[in-house]
Symmetry: C2
Subunit: 501 residues, 2 copies
C-alpha cells in the first residue's frame, strides 16, 4: 500500500514535470503569436523544439514505462489514481510505437511541407506543393502502420486526435450529413434570403474589443485566470487551469468576424478553466478530446451566441456600442443576418450548416489519401469536383481551394472530422441541458449563464479525460453521437430565420 503511494508520487512527479515543459512551450507559443518581435523567430523555434523533445524523452523513458506497469499491477490506488495511470500507460505505449528516427523524419518533413505550402500559396499554384505533400502522405501512411489498426489505416490517424474515432463510426455520421443536409439547404436556397449587409459598416476596433470583454465576463470567463489579446489567427491556449488565454482579431469593416470568434474561444477557455486543477498535468486534468473541446466552443458560439434569446439580452447593449451602425437595425434583422446560410469556398468563413460539407469533403479525401487510392497529384482536381458536387461552388484559384488550410502541411490528417463532431456533440449536449433545465432559455434571455456553465462544469469539464467523447456523450445524453440533435437544432433555428415549414 505505502509502496504504491510512493510509486504514484514518482509517477506524478515525472508526468507533471513533463507537463511543466509542455505548458512552458505553450507560453512560448502564445508569445510567438502575440508579442514576439520578428527576429526572435529562429531561436524561438529551437527553444520550442528542445522543450518538446525533453518532454517527449521523459514520457517515453523506459523507467517511466516500468513505473507505469508496476502501478498498473499494484493495489492501493484509488479510482482516480488508477485512471490516470491507465491513460498515461496508453499514451506511453502509443508514444513508444514511433522510432525516434521516424519522429525526426516527420519533424523535418513538416517543415519542408509547410514551406512548400507557403510557397504554393504565394505562387497561388498547387503544383508547387504536390511533391512535398506526397512525401508527407507517405510518412503518415507509414505512421498508421507503426500505430497499427484493425480496419482502415486512417483509423490509426483519427485516433491521434479523437480516441476511439474510426471510419466505421464516422462513415454513418457523414452519410447522414450527405443525405439530410442537401434537401434542407435546397429549402433554404429557395426561401426569402436574409440581409447581413449591416455587418459591413465601420465598426471601430476599441468598441468591438470592449463589447467582447463584456460578453466574455458575462459568460463566466475568469479574467483573473486568463486574458484576451490580439493575434493573426484566433486561438485558445492554456498553461494550467488558472491561466487560460484567448486571442482574437478585428476587422473594422466586418463585425461578424470578431465577436463570434471571441465567444468561440471563450467556450474553449471555459472548458480549460473548468478542468480539475488538482489533477494538473495528469490525464484527468486534461481535456477529453478535440471533439469535446470543439463541442464547448461551438455550443457557446452557435447554440448560445447565435440564438435569439442571447441577443434579446445583449442586443440593446451592442446597439449602445454602435448606435450609428446598428441603431436602426431591428433585433430580428440582426438575428437573421448573423445566421445567414450560403455555400462558400472557405471553410473557416462558412455558416453552421454548409460548414459540414467542407469537413465532409476533407474527410473523404483524407480517407482516400491514407488508403492510397488517391494521389497528391490528383488532389486539386478531386477537391474542385467535390466542391462543385457538394456545395455547387468553384474556386477561382488554388488559394481559395485546395491550399486554404494549413493542416495537411503539418501532417494533420484526421483532425478535420473533429470540427464537425464538435458541432454535433454541441447540439446534443445543449439539447440535453435544456431538457435537464427547462428554465435555461429564460436564464439566457436575462444574460445569466451560470446555470449553463455549472451544468457544463459538472457534466463535461470536471471529468477531464476520464471518459472518451462517446462515453461522455452516453453518460450525458443516454446515447452515443447521432446527427439527430443537430438536425433538430438547425431545423428549428432556420425555420424561423428562413421561414421554412
Amino acid at each position: 500500500m505505502s509502496n504504491s503511494k510512493e510509486l504514484y508520487t514518482s509517477y506524478k512527479d515525472v508526468t507533471q514535470k513533463a507537463a511543466d515543459l509542455q505548458f512552458a512551450a505553450a507560453v512560448l507559443g502564445w508569445d510567438q503569436e502575440v508579442y514576439m518581435p520578428p527576429k526572435g523567430f529562429e531561436m524561438r523555434g529551437r527553444q520550442l523544439a528542445t522543450l518538446a523533445s525533453q518532454a517527449h524523452e521523459m514520457l517515453t523513458a523506459e523507467s517511466y514505462g516500468k513505473l507505469l506497469t508496476q502501478l498498473r499491477e499494484s493495489a492501493g490506488l484509488d479510482e482516480t489514481e488508477q485512471h490516470n495511470v491507465r491513460l498515461s500507460l496508453e499514451d506511453y505505449e502509443k508514444n513508444r510505437k514511433l522510432p525516434i528516427s521516424f519522429v525526426e523524419q516527420l519533424t523535418q518533413q513538416t517543415s519542408n511541407s509547410y514551406n512548400a505550402w507557403l510557397q504554393a500559396r504565394k505562387d497561388n499554384k498547387y503544383s508547387t506543393y504536390t511533391a512535398e505533400l506526397a512525401k508527407m502522405i507517405d510518412l503518415k501512411r507509414k505512421q498508421a502502420d507503426y500505430f497499427g489498426y484493425q480496419n482502415h489505416p486512417y483509423d490509426a490517424l483519427l485516433d491521434e486526435y479523437e480516441k476511439g474515432a474510426t471510419v466505421a463510426m464516422l462513415d454513418p455520421i457523414f452519410k447522414n450529413v450527405k443525405e439530410q443536409l442537401p434537401p434542407f439547404l435546397t429549402q433554404i436556397a429557395n426561401a426569402q434570403q436574409v440581409d447581413d449587409s449591416f455587418f459591413n459598416g465601420q465598426y471601430p476596433k476599441q468598441q468591438q474589443w470592449d463589447f467582447s470583454i463584456d460578453v466574455l465576463k458575462k459568460m463566466g470567463y475568469d479574467f483573473e485566470a486568463g486574458r484576451q489579446d490580439y493575434s493573426e489567427h484566433p486561438f485558445t491556449t492554456s498553461f494550467s487551469s488558472e491561466d487560460v488565454r484567448i486571442t482574437t482579431r478585428v476587422d473594422e469593416h466586418n463585425y461578424a468576424s470578431m465577436l463570434w470568434s471571441s465567444i468561440h474561444e471563450g467556450g474553449h477557455a471555459l472548458y480549460e478553466q473548468g478542468l480539475p486543477s488538482g489533477e494538473y498535468g495528469l490525464p484527468l486534468g486534461s481535456a477529453a478530446s478535440l471533439a469535446v473541446h470543439e463541442s464547448q466552443s461551438r455550443l457557446w458560439e452557435n447554440c448560445v451566441g447565435r440564438s435569439l434569446g442571447f441577443w434579446k439580452y445583449f442586443y440593446p447593449h451592442l446597439q449602445q456600442y454602435f448606435p450609428q451602425q446598428l441603431g436602426k437595425v431591428p433585433l430580428d434583422t440582426f438575428y437573421k443576418g448573423m445566421n445567414k446560410v450560403e455555400p462558400s469556398l472557405i471553410r473557416t468563413e462558412a455558416d453552421e450548416v454548409t460548414y459540414h460539407f467542407h469537413v465532409l469533403i476533407r474527410y473523404e479525401i483524407e480517407k482516400q489519401l491514407i488508403a492510397g487510392t488517391l494521389q497528391a497529384a490528383e488532389l486539386d482536381q478531386v477537391w474542385n469536383e467535390h466542391y462543385k458536387q457538394y456545395l455547387g461552388v468553384s474556386s477561382p484559384d488554388a488559394k481559395q481551394g485546395v491550399l486554404q488550410d494549413v493542416h495537411w502541411s503539418h501532417g494533420m490528417f484526421g483532425y478535420f472530422p473533429t470540427y464537425s463532431l464538435g458541432s454535433f456533440y454541441a447540439a446534443q449536449f445543449f439539447e440535453q441541458a435544456v431538457k435537464d433545465m427547462p428554465g435555461l432559455p429564460a436564464e439566457i434571455e436575462q444574460g445569466q449563464f451560470s446555470m449553463l456553465l455549472d451544468w457544463l462544469r459538472g457534466h463535461v469539464h470536471v471529468h477531464g479525460r476520464r471518459y472518451t467523447s462517446e462515453e461522455l456523450c452516453k453518460r450525458i445524453t443516454g446515447r452515443g453521437l447521432d446527427l439527430g440533435s443537430f438536425m433538430n437544432y438547425i431545423k428549428a433555428k432556420y425555420s424561423i430565420v428562413y421561414g421554412l415549414k
Copy 2:
C-alpha cells in the same frame, strides 16, 4: 581532430539545450511580470522551478563533466571553442560543488525568507524578518564554505556575481569612495541648489511612452529584435540576441522616474543585442559579468542620457511632447534639475553621486554578516547608524530603511557591489571612448549614437564572456578599474551643475 570536433558538437548540443530551457524560463519570467493573470502565479512558480532544475541537471551531469574534461585535453579545437570549453568547465565545477540537498534547502529558504520579507514590509517591522534572514545568512556562509575561498568567505559569494571580485579588490575601491566623495558632497551641499520641481507636473503616460520609444530608436535599440512593455519594476531580459526586451513604468506626476529608466534598460538591451549570436547559449555568447552589464546601462543612462550634449539634441523634441510642462523651462534648468544631488533614504532613487554610499553601506554590512561578525538581530540598528554616518539621513521606518531591498531575502549577498562597479567601469569606458574618438561628443549633440554603439559593440559586446571585467577593462583602457575616471567625470559634470571650482 575529427573526434574532437564531434565531441565539441556534443558539448554544444547539451549546453545550448540547457540554454533553451533557461531562455524559456526567461520568457515565462517576462510574462509573469508583464502579462500573466494573477491566478497563474502558483503554477508558473512550479513551471519555472522545473525548467531551472532540468537545466541544472543537464549542466551538472557527470557525462557532461566527462565531455568537458575530454575536450579540455584534446587538440583540434580553435581558440573560441577552447575558450567556451574552459568557461563551461569552470561553471560545471562550480555547480557541482553544491550538494543537491543544499540547493533544495536554499530554494526553500529563499521562499521562506522572501515571504518573511514581504510580511515584514507589510508590518513595517524589521523583527518579523530577523529569524528567516538569519537562517538565510547561515546558509550563505555554508555556501561560501562549499565554494571555498582564500582570504574572506565573502569572496566566494562575490565571485558568484562578479568573477574574480574579492574583498582585497573592492576594499581599496570603496576606501576611495569613502575618502573622495564626502568632501565633494560637502562642496555640493554648500553650493547654490538646483531646481527640479518641473519634473512633478502632469506628464501624460502616452507621451512619456512615445518619447522613450523615440530615444530608444535613436540609441540603436532594434525593435525588430525586442520590445518595451510596462511592469511594476523595470528590467531587461533576453531570450537570444534576437529577442531582448525591456520594461518600464510611468509615474504621471514624476517624469524623472521613467525616462532614465528606459535609457538604462536600453543600455542593458543594447549589450544583449550585441552579443555574438553565433555563440547562442555558450559562454562566449553571454555577457561578461553583472558589473560589465551595469556599465552598459549606466554609461547610456548617466554618461550619455544625463549629459548636456544629449539634451542639446533631444530637449527641443521633448518640449514638443510636453509644451505646457517644459515649454518655458530652459535647457540649462532642465539639465541641472536632472542632475540634482541630494542624500536620500532609498537606493533606487538616489542620484549618481550619493548612490555609491548606499552600495558602500550594503557592502560593509554584507562582509560582516558573512564573516559572522554581525548578526541579523543587530542589522537594523547598524543600518541606521551607517545611513546617519555616511548620508546624514535617518529612516522614519523599516520599509524605507533596512527592508527596502529584496536582494537579501533572495540570498543575493555580493550582488550590490556590482552596481557601483558598473558605474565606475562606465565612466572609465566612456572616458576611453572619447579619447579614442574625439568627435564623439559632437556626434551625440547631433543625436547620432552609432559611433558610440559601434565602439561598444567592438570593445565590449562582441567579446561576450571571453574576458573578466578586469581583463576587459585593461584591454580597453590600459589599466584595471580605479575610481579616477568616475571622480573626473562627476567633478567635471557637477562643477557645471553646481558651479563648483
